[in-house]
């Protein structure tokens, strides 16, 4: 059957991709344009069918891909790096600096990496769509919501399946747009609209990096598609300029200037030190900027927590499972570029570690259930960055995969909880506050169990998915070390940054601390929500919360007795619980795709994902000159730069894995233990005591390290200052001087001309007659005019034309030859002059009325300067 499929859609022209991409787009168009006409059932059917068919096509494509890469050849068969590609159309062509033209095609491809990603996006996407049909049922913007959501899936698929950076960028911007639209979905509230703008602007900063990276890649590698970049990735380091020197990117001095000044005893000559980075580092840093924007890493993570202003299914789909992992996907996609520069790899890992830690500390104290999950997402994304930064691309991507399931499940569970709370409270903030929850286990059994499984998974419970992926990351972070390919090539002319040996262990330690916090805050969230007693019986209605003094009486709504128990929270309908169950199942089991050590020990499990993705990352990890070397080589042999990894070192590393695994297990045990003790044993008393004991720290964390305030003070205020300056300049210079001066001139001229505008036909006709008479006089008089041009030693005289004009020339200044007749064709003449000589030339003109005029030209050629003087009229 798959053979038939591959016959219909050959590998190089796999147009089934059009179905995968086209259905969500169709859904977006139909729901967006005809949403109101087809009604809610129609919108629901269209949205679900679009994503469902797309998912089905993805599954078929994946099976075909399985055939193409040769996975059918048994467990240990070597896979090939095959892809299914489809070119939609030729988009444009870019011109390189060398003048070569790079065709940029609208081309899509499915390979091992994008294949898994597209299954996740459409699969999880379908479940979330199903969930949303119930969650958003009462919303007046139902059709608009699904139009956006379908458009998002389309953009995300473009991002994933794009075969080159520009197409990826189209998807990248598309998901950014959809994210913006969906965060601000309830735009009536100012804060939601502001959150959308914040996300958009933060992403824009990242996109700037991505565009720069594209330009640099065109310069260095001369291509923008994955295969081309990979083929020429070596150029990023070895490209030489016209002088035969390495073509590096100069960071300092800016603009090649000289800043080393010496003012008396102030010596600034150290400013003359130059700093240059390789193309690989430059491209990597630019790409990293793009990834930090999209994947919410330091310093651009601030938008993601605010993005929770959107509807919860959006948070689950866009801001947890798919879009925010685009940055990790891009690092994996361009792993061969990142691995070229140890510095960039260290930056990726370092930023990931810092983000994981920072976000985890903030998540410890948040009270809003969605905020906890948001910071948890930022933190988990940090873990993924640690993984890919350590060169463990498979591990990082594995965490993308597992995170997509457990975090989507957690968000949907939170949505289910909010749904239940909202039915009682009717206030967005209060219904998300965990202080109002508790004891929901009794009322929401399905939500409870699925949330529980996913919490265990994210906290790193052994044998669940989060445990396997997180441990793989931590283990690789400890043992891996990126070695610059420059060292191999002994390019001594260029100082090479080397990753210090302590870097891996530090990443590991930070990761374990963050993992401990993860286990703690996730269980805190879980226990506060589902265990204990329900605290939400006596919370006020919105009228009480937002407007306590506005009770003007007379309405039953305001006089509800809020101290008596209301209706009990209820479980959500099947459209919401079924996705939860499916996702929870996957959250528990998806780890067995790549159980790491367990896979090595127990044979039938195997490490399927590692095997599957191996061809994608093989060149990066093993390829000549761009290896991610194992730190163990250094430990065993003390060799600074291992030429290749010995068997001995590999064995050593394998022995370390169980030991390093203890870190992850203890992180889970400690985190969960503390949470259990604090919130179940002691009913939350230690948490309150701790907050009371360290109010500063608590406030600091509750206010998210004041990062938003810091950005307000530093970035926003400087931008505001710039804007104020520009506005002042606009008011005084543009408005004040330019505009008013122009207006003044115009109005003054108008005042003069207005006098002529009598509106009386006679005046106009009289003026016309006078004008005609003047024109007649002008034509009646002869005009002997000529232009003089200097051509080297010659002067070229050209007589001005006129109606019926005849010409006669006196070129030597001796007077006209009276016998010579005037000729109408005798227009041009050349006069040769020696230096320092002067000559008089006369032109006689006769017009159609037989009137004659003479003009005299005095030509002077100066000694050195070349000036000519044109004489006076001698008529």
């Amino acid at each position: 059957m798959i053979e038939t499929l591959l016959r219909i859609f050959p590998q190089g022209d796999f147009s089934l991709i059009a179905v995968i991409l086209g259905m969500p787009l169709l859904g977006a168009i139909v729901n967006g344009v005809f949403g109101a006409r087809i009604g809610k059932p129609g919108v629901r059917f269209m949205a679900l069918a679009a994503i469902g068919i797309s998912f089905f096509a993805c599954v078929l494509s994946f099976l075909a891909l399985d055939k193409v890469v040769g996975a059918g050849g048994g467990e240990h068969a070597e896979l090939v790096h095959g892809k299914l590609a489809w070119t939609a159309w030729e988009w444009m062509s870019a011109t390189t600096f060398g003048g070569a033209s790079i065709p940029i095609q609208f081309r899509f491809s499915i390979d091992a990496l994008s294949g898994i990603m597209m299954l996740v996006v459409t699969g999880v996407g379908f479940l979330i769509h199903l969930y949303a049909t119930s969650y958003m049922e009462k919303d007046p913007g139902f059709a608009r919501f699904f139009a956006y959501l379908n458009l998002f899936v389309f953009s995300m698929l473009v991002l994933i399946l794009g075969d080159n950076l520009p197409v990826l960028f189209v998807g990248w911007e598309g998901v950014g747009l959809c994210s913006y639209l969906l965060i601000g979905f309830w735009f009536e509230a100012e804060k939601n609209a502001a959150a959308g703008k914040k996300a958009f602007i933060a992403n824009r900063i990242g996109d700037f990096g991505l565009i720069l990276a594209m330009a640099l890649l065109v310069y260095y590698t001369g291509s923008l598609d994955w295969d081309g970049i990979q083929q020429h990735a070596g150029e990023l380091i070895t490209k030489t300029n016209a002088q035969g020197k390495l073509d590096t990117v100069s960071i300092w001095p800016v603009g090649g200037g000289s800043y080393g000044l010496v003012f008396g005893w102030i010596n600034l000559s150290f400013l003359n030190k130059t700093l240059a980075i390789t193309g690989a580092t430059a491209v990597g840093l630019c790409l990293l900027l793009g990834c930090t924007g999209k994947s919410a890493q330091l310093p651009l993570y601030v938008w993601l927590p605010d993005a929770m202003a959107g509807p919860t299914p959006v948070s689950a789909l866009i801001h947890a499972a798919t879009m925010v992992t685009a940055g990790v996907y891009l690092v994996c996609r361009l792993s061969f570029v990142f691995a070229m520069s140890p510095f960039v790899m260290a930056c990726v890992g370092g930023i990931g570690a810092l983000t994981a830690l920072l976000a985890a500390t903030i998540a410890l104290v948040q009270n809003d259930i969605k905020k906890v999950l948001a910071y948890s997402t930022v933190s988990q994304l940090g873990f993924m960055f640690i993984g890919v930064g350590a060169g463990a691309f498979t591990a990082g991507f594995f965490h993308v995969l597992t995170h997509a399931f457990f975090k989507a499940c957690l968000f949907l569970g939170a949505g289910s909880v909010i749904h239940a709370m909202h039915a009682r409270i009717h206030d967005d903030d209060a219904s998300q506050d965990m202080r109002n929850m508790g004891g929901l286990k009794k009322y929401l059994p399905y939500t409870y169990w699925t949330f529980f499984v996913s919490t265990l998974a994210i906290a790193g419970m052994p044998l669940l998915s989060g445990f396997f992926s997180k441990d793989e990351i931590l283990y690789r972070a400890y043992i891996n070390k990126t070695v610059s390919p420059q060292m191999d090539r002994a390019l001594k002319s260029f100082g090479v940054w080397e990753q210090p040996d302590w870097f891996g262990p530090v990443l590991y330690t930070v990761g374990v601390i963050a993992a401990t916090m993860t286990a703690f805050y996730m269980f805190r969230c879980f226990l506060l929500t589902f265990h204990g007693d329900f605290r939400g019986w006596t919370i006020g209605r919105p009228s009480q919360i937002s407007n306590p003094h506005h009770d003007d009486g007379g309405h039953g709504h305001h006089h509800e007795d809020l101290t008596t128990p209301g209706r009990a929270p209820h479980e959500s309908p099947w459209q919401m619980t079924v996705p939860l169950l499916v996702l929870a199942t996957f959250a528990a089991l998806v780890g067995y795709l790549n159980p790491g050590l367990l896979g090595h020990k127990i044979h039938f499990l195997g490490n399927a994902l590692d095997h599957w993705l191996h061809p994608v990352f093989r060149d990066t990890i093993e390829g000549a000159g761009r290896m991610v070397a194992l730190r163990a080589e250094h430990l065993v042999h003390g060799a600074k730069v291992p030429a290749e990894i010995s068997h001995e070192a590999l064995e050593h590393v394998e022995h370390m894995e169980p030991i390093l695994m203890l870190g992850g297990i203890s992180a889970f045990a400690i985190g969960v233990g503390i949470a259990y003790w604090m919130y179940v044993k002691e009913k939350g008393a230690p948490a309150k005591a701790l907050a009371a004991k360290f109010p500063g720290v608590h406030r600091f964390l509750l206010n998210k390290w004041y990062v938003d305030e810091l950005y307000d003070e530093v970035v926003l205020s400087s931008v505001d200052a710039l804007a104020d300056t520009a506005a002042a300049a606009d008011r005084t210079i543009v408005d004040g001087i330019l505009a008013r001066l122009t207006a003044l001139i115009a109005s003054f001229t108008g005042t003069i001309f207005r006098a002529f505008q009598t509106g009386v036909v006679h005046t106009y006709s009289a003026i016309m007659v006078v004008g005609l008479a003047a024109l007649g006089v002008f034509f009646f008089r002869p005009h002997a005019e000529a232009t003089v041009r200097k051509l080297g030693a010659d002067y070229q005289l050209t007589a001005a034309p006129g109606m019926g004009y005849k010409y006669r020339w006196d070129l030597d200044g001796k007077g006209f030859d009276e016998k010579q007749l005037l000729s109408s064709t005798d227009i041009q003449h050349k006069v040769t002059l020696e230096e320092g000589k002067t000559k008089t030339v006369r032109l006689e003109v006769e017009n159609a009325f037989g009137r004659r005029g003479i003009r005299e030209f005095v030509l002077t050629r100066a000694e050195s300067t070349k000036t000519i003087e044109v004489g006076k009229n001698a008529q």
Partner: protein, 102 residues
């Protein structure tokens, strides 16, 4: 007696001047329109007259036909304007039609 083109041009010039003075001096829009017609006809006359000295083609005569057509159109538009002016002002005096002043 041979009638030369000079005579035609002379007659045309007189017609043109009559038309011009009529246009400038009279205040009745209808009379002004007629003056314009006289001037245009003077031009037509010169075109036809000069065409006689160029037997190889008939550009001048054809030009005259085009001018006659243009005159007809001009008169149609002009009379329509005069009509609406009369409706507006109850008068066809051109010095009273000064709504476009300043």
């Amino acid at each position: 007696m041979m009638i030369t083109s000079d005579s035609y041009v002379f007659v045309a010039a007189i017609l043109f001047i009559i038309g011009g003075i009529g246009f400038l001096a009279r205040r009745n829009v209808l009379v002004q329109l007629m003056s314009i017609e006289i001037m245009l006809n003077a031009v037509n006359l010169t075109l036809v007259a000069f065409n006689r000295s160029r037997p190889e083609n008939h550009s001048g005569q054809i030009f005259a036909f085009f001018l006659i057509a243009a005159e007809a159109a001009e008169v149609a538009v002009g009379l329509a304007i005069v009509l609406s002016l009369f409706r507006l002002r109850r008068s066809v005096r051109s010095d009273e039609a000064d709504s476009l002043r300043n």
